[in-house]
Amino acid sequence: MTTTLSPDARVKRAPGRRIVLHVFLWIVALSWLFPLGWAVLNSFRDYAYTAINGYVSFGGFTLQNYVNAWRQGDFGLHFWNSAVITVPAVVITLFLASCMAFVLARFSFRFNLALLGVFLAANLLPPQALLVPVYRMFRAVSLPDWLSSSGSLLNNQLGVILVNIAFQLGFCTFVLSNYMKTIPAEIYESARVDGASVTRQFFQLTLPLCRPPLAALATLQVTWIYNEFFWATVLLQSGDKFPITSSLNSLQGQFFTDYNLLSAGSVLAMLPVLVIFFALQRQFVSGLTLGSTKG
C-alpha cells in the first residue's frame, strides 16, 4: 500500500522538502564564505577604530592597511619571488611529465608499469620525511655565483623549483599518460609510415591533442606551487627570497599583531589564486577531478 502511495506523497511533499534543502544549503554556503568575507571586511578597517569599538561594529573604513601591508610585507619582491619559482616549475613539470607519459602510453617496456608505480608513490610521500637528506644534499651541492648567491642549492630558489618539479611529476605523469592512452594508435602508425620521427610525433601529434588535460593541469599546478609552503620555508632561509606564501609570517608581530593588517596581507596573497579560481574555475575543477573519473 505504501509503495503505491509513495509517488503521490512525494509530489506533495516535494515543495516543502525543497525549501528546507535550500534553506540548509544557503546557511552552509554563507557560513563557508564567512571566514573569508570576515577577513576581507576587516582588511578595509582601521585598527584604531576596531580596537576601540570592537570588531562587531561598523565603521572605520580605510585602504591604509593595504598600503601598509604592501610596504611592510615587501609584497612586490615576494610576488616576484613567487613568479620566479612557480612559472619555471610549472612549465618544466608539465614538459617532463608529458615526455614521461608519452613513453609510458606509447611504448610497452617491460618496466612500464613499475615506472608508473615509482612515479605515483613518490607523489604521496610526506615531504617532511625527506627533509633531512634533501637539506643536506642541497647544502653539499656547490654552484657557481651566477647560479646561486648562496653558493649551493640551499637558500636558493633553484632548489625549491627542483623539489617542486620532483613532487608534482608523479601526479601529472599519471593523468597525462591516462589521457594519452585514449589517443588511437593508428594515428601514430600513419605518422610513422610518413616518416615522422618520435620527436615530431610528440610535438606535432601528442602535445596538441593533450591541450585539455595540459590546460587543467597547468591551472592546478600554478595554484599548488604558488601555495607551496613547506619546502620554501625550510629551504630558503633568508626572508628576502621567500615567495608570498612563506613570507606572510613577517606580518605577524612577536608581541603585537595587527589583525587588520594581517587580513589585508592575506587578501593580497590570495588574489592571484582567487583570480585563477574565478577565471579558470572549470579548468581548476577538472584538474582536481581529472584523475579521479574517466575523462
Binding site: 552552509v28 614521461m100 610521500l125 620525511a129 594508435a185 612563506s246 589583525y259 596581507g265 573519473t293 574517466k294
Partner: protein, 320 residues
C-alpha cells in the same frame, strides 16, 4: 602545503575513446625505433625518472638508513656509525613531545576521516541534483580549496584571536583558541576541515556524476528509498573515488604541517610528527639520526596507504 591531492584515475575502459591497444600489438614496438628515436625516447624517460629518483626515492631511503646512525649532521660522512635502534628507543622513551605528536596526528586523521569526509560526501549528495543556485552553493563550499593551508591559518586567526577574535566577542569568553593547549588542536581541526570538506565534496560530485543513472532508476522502481539506493548501490559503485578519498584524507592528515607551523611552529598542544622532524633538523640543535627516526615512522605510516593505493591502481592498469 596541501596534500598534493593525488587523485588518481580510474582506467578509461570504454570511456568513448579508442579501445586500449592490446598488449600484443604494442609489444616490440621499441625495436622498430631508429637510432635517433631511441636516443630521444631514452632521454624522455631518463630525465624525469632521475628527478623522482634523486629528489624523492634517494632521500626516502637515506632517511631510513640515517635513522639507524648517530650522525649529528656536521661530521664527515665516513664517521657515521650505526647504532641500531637507539634513536627509536630514545624517541619513544626519552622525548616527551613524541607521543602527544603521534596522538595529534591520529586525532587529525580520525576527525578528517570520521567527520569532515562524511560531511563532504553528504554535501555532494545534496548538490548532485538539478536545482537553482547549485553552482553558487558548490563554488562557496569549494572556494577554500584554492587557498594554501598557511593562508587558511591566517584567515582563521581573526576568528580565534584572544583579544580581538570574533569567537570570543560572540561567546563573551577570553580563550586563546590557537594558543590554549586545551582547545588549539580543535581550532586547527575546524580550520582544516573548512578546506577539506570542500575538497572531498568536489571529488564526490565528480564521482556521482559518473554513476550510471539507470542504476538509480532501477532501484527506484524496485521501491528503494533514496538513502537505501545511496548506501547499497551508489556508494559501492563509487569504489575508485572512495579509495582516492581515503588516500587524500590520510595524506592530508599527515601533512597538516603548514597550518600548525603558521600558528606556532607546532608547540604547546599542536605538536605533530612533521613539526618535530622539521624542528629537529632545521632548528638550533640539529639531531639528524633522531629526526630521521621520526621521519621513518612517518614514512611507515604513510606507506601502508601508499602501497595499498598504488597496487590498486596498478591492478586496474594491468587489466587493460
Amino acid at each position: 602545503m596541501t596534500a598534493e591531492p593525488t587523485t588518481a584515475p580510474r582506467p578509461d575502459t570504454g570511456s568513448g575513446g579508442a579501445p586500449p591497444t592490446p598488449a600484443s600489438a604494442r609489444k616490440n614496438r621499441v625495436r622498430k625505433l631508429s637510432g635517433a628515436d631511441l636516443v630521444v625516447v631514452t632521454l624522455m624517460t631518463v630525465i624525469p625518472t632521475l628527478f623522482v629518483l634523486v629528489l624523492i626515492w634517494f632521500p626516502a631511503i637515506a632517511s631510513v638508513l640515517l635513522s639507524f646512525t648517530n650522525w649529528n649532521g656536521i661530521g664527515p660522512l665516513n664517521q657515521i656509525k650505526g647504532i641500531g635502534f637507539t634513536n627509536y628507543v630514545n624517541v619513544a622513551t626519552n622525548y616527551p613531545p613524541f607521543w602527544p605528536a603521534l596522538r595529534h596526528n591520529l586525532t587529525f586523521l580520525a576527525v578528517l576521516f570520521l567527520i569532515a569526509t562524511p560531511i563532504g560526501m553528504f554535501l555532494a549528495v545534496l548538490l548532485d541534483k538539478e536545482m537553482r543556485f547549485s553552482r553558487f552553493y558548490q563554488t562557496a563550499i569549494y572556494l577554500p580549496v584554492v587557498l594554501s593551508l598557511a593562508l587558511v591559518g591566517f584567515i582563521w586567526q581573526l576568528i580565534y584571536s584572544r583579544d580581538q577574535g570574533l569567537l570570543n566577542a560572540v561567546l563573551h569568553t577570553q580563550v586563546d583558541w590557537y594558543g590554549d593547549p586545551n582547545y588549539n588542536l580543535w581550532a586547527a581541526l575546524v580550520a582544516t576541515s573548512w578546506r577539506h570538506i570542500g575538497y572531498i565534496m568536489l571529488l564526490y560530485l565528480a564521482g556521482l556524476k559518473a554513476v550510471d543513472g539507470s542504476l538509480r532508476e532501477a532501484a527506484a522502481i524496485d521501491g528503494a528509498t533514496e538513502v537505501q539506493t545511496f548506501f547499497r548501490i551508489v556508494f559501492p559503485v563509487m569504489r575508485p573515488i572512495n579509495v582516492i578519498v581515503l588516500v587524500v584524507t590520510v595524506i592530508e592528515s599527515l601533512r597538516a604541517f603548514d597550518l600548525v607551523w603558521v600558528i606556532n611552529k607546532g608547540r604547546n598542544g599542536l605538536e605533530l610528527i612533521a613539526t618535530l622532524v622539521t624542528a629537529n633538523v632545521v632548528g638550533e640543535a640539529s639531531r639528524i639520526g633522531f629526526g630521521s627516526a621520526m621521519a621513518t615512522i612517518m614514512l611507515l605510516i604513510s606507506s601502508v596507504f601508499v602501497v595499498a593505493y598504488v597496487s590498486n591502481v596498478m591492478r586496474e592498469e594491468r587489466r587493460k
